[in-house]
Symmetry: C3
């Protein structure tokens, strides 16, 4: 929370911003369609997801198994993930093209009648890498937003 | 839901991304201000809107008539349309500059005391074209987000 | 609400769009972390905020004092500000690089159990300027979204 608010025009070009947003637009369509394998394919083979409750899925196979186990929760529910306030930063000393991306996430749940409820809000920290020119998520750490202690 | 997650840097430039988002920023200000004629002017003269219930408005005149019929619904209500996860794709074989754009849409309704409720969520598919350099919507198909069947 | 929907590709480049969004991504992380001094540092020294209720804070010192006075309201609450539909326009006759930016704002409040409520929606009008290359907010006017009278 202490990062400098400085000009980032040399760091995040418009093209990169559009590419990253498009990557997530596709990734979220897959997760929200419960396209589990398609979603896992947007991660590297050894991709890691650390959920807000601390549960950890390592690699696509574990990710897919966990999502199938969780799938019944979405029976009769249309889930949608909404993102905002992306911070896109090249990883110094990472692979060529490696990016650290953090963003706010809001999750809506619509029942069959269209009544909307929301999950808690989350802040997500991703590491994105390029494989054969396309972006993939290599790591995702999901934090539930908690009250600031004071 | 089966579109490839690939690099889109050559497809969607930052400039185009910013232009499309700005187009919708203006279009949504008009619809949310209940500026019916102003909103219709962001469509081509023969623009078509297919609503989530299947109702179809063909051309600006029908669109305007439908919106006036629906206007009483917004008495004492401040409506706001929120977009996310835009996918912007040039239409192969379309007119010069023709774009297919899809996006998530969340609709908030605030009453006079500021209490907020939400409509169901929607996914919208637009076709945008250029007329005299400016973007206009030629077609809009609105889908209510429904639970995935499984 | 009567602004022309015209091509803005020459007005808002992708790079500027990404820079402005990144500026807000950082500014909102600070306000949502209740990092009051850090938030104030994203304004010019003489920055002004006009709240929706008409209250006015002039300069960083007044802004900081007002936020400390308001801080107890966020005990046990995780607040998040969500933005959409940014309109970014260079200010004709302003300083070099001065921008007028308006946007929709949705404010979520999560309690310790993760139950989400929302404030009314707002539309915000900012003036951004550059100091030493970085963007800062010089003026912010916050409007609560009210029903259209008809």
């Amino acid at each position: 929370m202490t990062q400098a608010v400085q000009s980032v025009s040399s760091e995040v070009t418009g093209d990169l911003y559009a590419e990253v947003r498009t990557f997530y637009a596709r990734q979220m369509r897959r997760v929200d369609a419960l396209d589990i394998e398609g979603f896992a394919d947007t991660f590297t083979e050894d991709g890691v997801v650390v959920h807000a409750n601390g549960a950890r899925a390592e690699g696509r196979a574990e990710m897919v198994a966990g999502m199938y186990a969780n799938k019944p929760r979405y029976r009769d529910i249309a889930v949608r993930h909404w993102f905002d306030h992306l911070l896109i930063e090249p990883v110094v000393g990472g692979e060529e093209g490696e990016l650290r991306v953090s963003y706010y996430s809001l999750v809506s749940l619509a029942d069959r009648e269209g009544r909307l409820t929301f999950e808690p809000t989350f802040t997500v920290e991703d590491v994105l890498v390029r494989r054969g020119g396309r972006l993939l998520t290599r790591e995702r750490v999901i934090h539930r937003d908690l009250p600031v202690e004071f």
